[in-house]
Symmetry: C2
Subunit: 283 residues, 2 copies
C-alpha cells in the first residue's frame, strides 16, 4: 500500500463529515493536515476525490467509491479494536504462589467492592513476566531492584499454629519450618539474625525447609508447628486465627516485593490496582 494510511483515514473522515474542518476536529488535527493528506492521496491515485467549492467540498464519483470502502474497512477494524480494548479492563497480575494464596486472592474481594468494573486475573509462575501488560509482583533481593519498583521490604518472624503451646526456647528441642528458595541467588530467610535478636541462639532448634513459604506455613498449621516466614504472608492468618504470634521480635531482611518496571504500567486500571497493592502490603 503505497498510499498513506493516515491519508486514507483523513479522507474517510472528510468524506463522512463533508468538510475538511470537521474532519480535522474529529481527528484532532489542523485543517491543513487534512488538506495535505487529501491532496497527496489525489496525486498518488491520479484522480480527484473532492470537488472544491469556495467554502465546501463535495465528493466526486470516484471519491464516493473510496469513501464507502474506507468507511466499511476502518469500521470493521475499529469494531475489533473496541472489543479488544474492553477486554483490556482486565488487570493481569502474575506473582508467587505464596503471595497469591495468602494475601492477594483473599483480599481481592475488597478490591472488587471498591472497583466493581475492574477485573483482576492472577496467575502464578514467571512465564508471563515479560508481557508488557501483565503486572509482575515479584519477590527478590532488594539490592538488585530499582528503588521505584520496590513495593514492600520484607520482615521475618516466627509464628505458630493457632492454639499450640508457647514454645520454651531453652528446654525441649524445637522444630521450625523455614524456606530454602529455589533461586539460590536470593538471600536466605534471616533465621540466624532472628535467633540473635530474640536471644535464643542457644535453643535446641531443628530447621525443616520447604522451597516455598506457603508450603511451610500450611504444614505448620496442619501439624501445630512453628514457621519462620515473612510478616506479610502471616498477617491475614493471624487475623483469621490460623496462626499465632508469641511476642517475638521480627527481623528485617534483604528481601522485598517489587513490580518490575512499575512506572511502565500507565493504564488507569493498572494504576488503581498498583495503588491498592501498595496499601495492602504496607498496612
Amino acid at each position: 500500500m503505497q498510499v498513506s494510511l493516515q491519508a486514507l483515514k483523513a479522507f474517510e473522515s472528510a468524506a463522512r463529515r463533508g468538510s475538511f474542518k470537521l474532519a480535522a476536529e474529529e481527528l484532532s488535527l489542523t485543517p491543513t493536515a487534512i488538506s495535505h493528506h487529501i491532496n497527496n492521496l489525489e496525486g498518488r491515485l491520479n484522480v480527484s476525490l473532492f470537488k472544491r467549492e469556495a467554502r465546501s467540498v463535495t465528493l466526486t464519483e470516484v471519491g464516493r467509491r473510496l469513501a464507502i470502502a474506507t468507511s466499511d474497512g476502518f469500521a470493521q477494524i475499529e469494531r475489533a479494536l473496541e472489543e479488544i480494548k474492553l477486554s483490556g479492563y482486565v488487570v493481569r497480575v502474575t506473582t508467587t504462589s505464596s503471595l497469591a494464596a495468602l494475601v492477594l486472592l483473599p483480599s481481592l474481594k475488597d478490591f472488587s467492592l471498591s472497583n466493581p468494573n475492574i477485573s483482576v486475573e492472577v496467575s502464578t509462575g514467571e512465564s508471563l513476566d515479560s508481557l508488557p501488560y501483565v503486572i509482575p509482583v515479584r519477590f527478590g533481593d532488594a539490592s538488585t531492584v530499582q528503588a521505584g519498583d520496590i513495593v514492600k521490604c520484607e520482615s521475618f518472624d516466627v509464628y505458630g499454629a493457632y492454639g499450640m503451646q508457647t514454645p520454651s526456647w531453652s528446654a525441649k528441642p524445637i522444630t521450625i519450618f523455614s524456606t530454602e528458595w529455589k533461586n539460590s541467588e536470593l538471600p536466605a530467610p534471616p533465621l540466624k539474625a532472628w535467633l540473635a535478636k530474640n536471644g535464643v541462639e542457644q535453643a535446641n532448634i531443628t530447621v525443616k525447609k520447604f522451597d516455598q513459604e506457603f508450603f511451610g506455613i500450611q504444614q505448620a498449621m496442619a501439624e501445630n508447628e512453628l514457621v519462620f516466614c515473612s510478616t506479610t504472608l502471616a498477617k491475614r492468618l493471624l487475623k483469621t486465627k490460623q496462626l499465632q504470634h508469641f511476642g517475638t521480635h521480627s527481623v528485617e531482611s534483604e528481601l522485598c516485593y517489587y513490580v518490575a518496571k512499575k512506572a511502565h504500567f500507565e493504564g488507569k486500571n493498572a494504576r488503581i490496582f498498583l495503588s491498592w497493592l501498595d496499601k495492602l502490603l504496607m498496612d
Copy 2:
C-alpha cells in the same frame, strides 16, 4: 483511533504470514520495525496478540480476532484503491486550444497505436492546471520557466493559405494575421524580428490581430491570407496542404511550450506520454 494504522498494517501482515520476518519483507521494512509495532500495539491494547516461540510466532485467540478484522478491513480498502488506480491509466492533459486543435488531438491516434492501453483526455483552459495529476502543457515566456520544464522553444514564420499567390513584399499592401495574447505579460510574437531577418521591413504591411493563434490561422486559411504563427502549429497544416510556406526564414522567439513541474509527473503512463510529447513537438 489511538492505535497506529502502521502498527495495525504490520500486525495484519505478520498474522497472515505467521512471521515478523516475512511481514517485514512484504512491507519493505526491517523485522525490528515489525517487532516494535506489534509490541506497541499489545501495550496499547493491553493484550497479547502473538505467542512468541524461539523462532516463530503464533496468534493468540485475541490476535486471531484482530487478524480477521484487519485482513478484511484492509482488503476492502485495497480493492477500492486498485480500482481507482486502474482508472489512473487515463492520462489527463490540459493545454491551449491552438495546440490541442492543431497538434495534439490530430496526433493522438499515433499515440494510441503505440500505447493502446493508455487513454489520453485533453482539455483546454486553465482550470485544471493546479490538479496534481493533470499534465498542464502551457505556452509561456521561456525566461520565466524552469529549464527542465521546457518542452520546445518556439519559432515563428509567415505562412499562407494553401494555393494562394506568393506575396510580393515590395509592391501591394500586404495583410498578415498575427496574435495579441490575452496575457499581456507574454512576449509578443516576434514579427518585427521576422521582417528584419527576411529583409522586408519596407514592405507595406497591415497586421490584423487575433487573441489566439488558432483563430488567426483558421481565418488565413479561409480567406487566402498570410498568418504569422508558430512553426509548431503550422507543421501539420503544411503537411496536409492547408498552409504553404514561401521560403522565408523563421525567427526564434522568447516563447516556449512547457509542462509546469514536469518532473513531478512520475506515473509510468504520464512519463510515456511526456516522452511522446517531447518527440512530437521537437520533430
